[in-house]
Symmetry: C2
């Protein structure tokens, strides 16, 4: 119970409930959990190409011959890869920056995997870099920094569309969202 | 108090508080409120050009010589005009549909101000129609219907950008939002 309580979002009551559940469960189920916890530390690592979390190197996406290696989608963190993969529309591969530039928090460009991204582009196999950083101050700042580094490199640089959220209403949209939606309006 | 209680969001307690406030207030303040309430019914009408709510005809936006009358932003309801005007980036004029097509609720195209919109475009002064209906099932359906009517009319038809909301995070975006953001990605 003491070990379980150290996990985020698990208090003494939840820890107790989980502990008694484990007592009742089949040994192989409990061992599967124990092995998975061990594996996180022993087998999960960062892909040396895209820095996504993986148990093989290169990761399953980087080594998939059906993916378009000439399109690199740049995200801030491994969670974003999961979110984008959920859509099923990304045909390219990824590059995980491992954060965003935030000078006030002491995160400089050199703390991210930017050098590795530039090396991938320099290798000549990349046709398009899709900047999929968050549409926040830090994400936009990071995207602008990458754009300035990539511009001289003869690669197409795009970024995720921003505007109205699908299913939302004009009436309740924030000013910033409406502004992005008008200025970014597209031909039908 | 009985009259006040009939307003939305005002219960017996609020009605009492407002009534006693009116008793204490200067006569001219109370009369100003009374006149405003009367004016809503007596003077507010729909602009005969754009169908926005107005107390002059044509409305202040339609009659403003500084607005670009060749760009018509089509919205579902007068509230949407207020929201879009809040951004300060719309240089054109508006056309209020007074709803969206919703066959299940008995709202047919002929119930909206679509015929008047087509007449405005036919007059030849409109260069661009910006479809700013809500990014919902009904709003999208209405936009598609308008698009099919406008396509033969030699006018540019655009729609509001959709994608990630400004200030949101990739990690928490819905699948539909991420899909729109990837497919609609723009050159930087």
């Amino acid at each position: 119970m003491k070990q379980l309580e150290r996990l985020p979002g698990i208090g003494p009551r939840s820890a107790e409930r989980i502990a008694f559940h484990l007592l009742r469960t089949e040994p192989e189920d409990a061992f599967a959990l124990a092995d998975a916890v061990r594996d996180v530390k022993e087998r999960l690592r960062h892909c040396t190409r895209c820095f996504n979390l993986t148990d093989t190197d290169p990761c399953g996406i980087c080594s998939d011959p059906k993916r378009d290696a000439s399109q690199v989608v740049v995200v801030e963190q491994p969670k974003d890869v999961l979110a984008l993969e959920g859509t099923g529309v990304v045909r390219g591969v990824y590059h995980v920056l491992m954060g965003h530039i935030a000078p006030l928090e002491g995160v400089e460009p050199s703390d991210l995997t930017i050098e590795a991204l530039l090396a991938r582009v320099r290798s000549g196999t990349v046709r398009e870099v899709v900047l999929a950083t968050n549409p926040t101050v830090e994400g936009d700042g990071t995207a602008l920094h990458l754009h300035s580094l990539l511009t001289p490199m003869k690669v197409q640089v795009t970024r995720l569309a921003r505007g109205l959220a699908v299913g939302s209403q004009v009436e309740y949209a924030t000013r910033a969202m409406l502004e992005a939606a008008i200025l970014g309006r597209t031909a039908m």
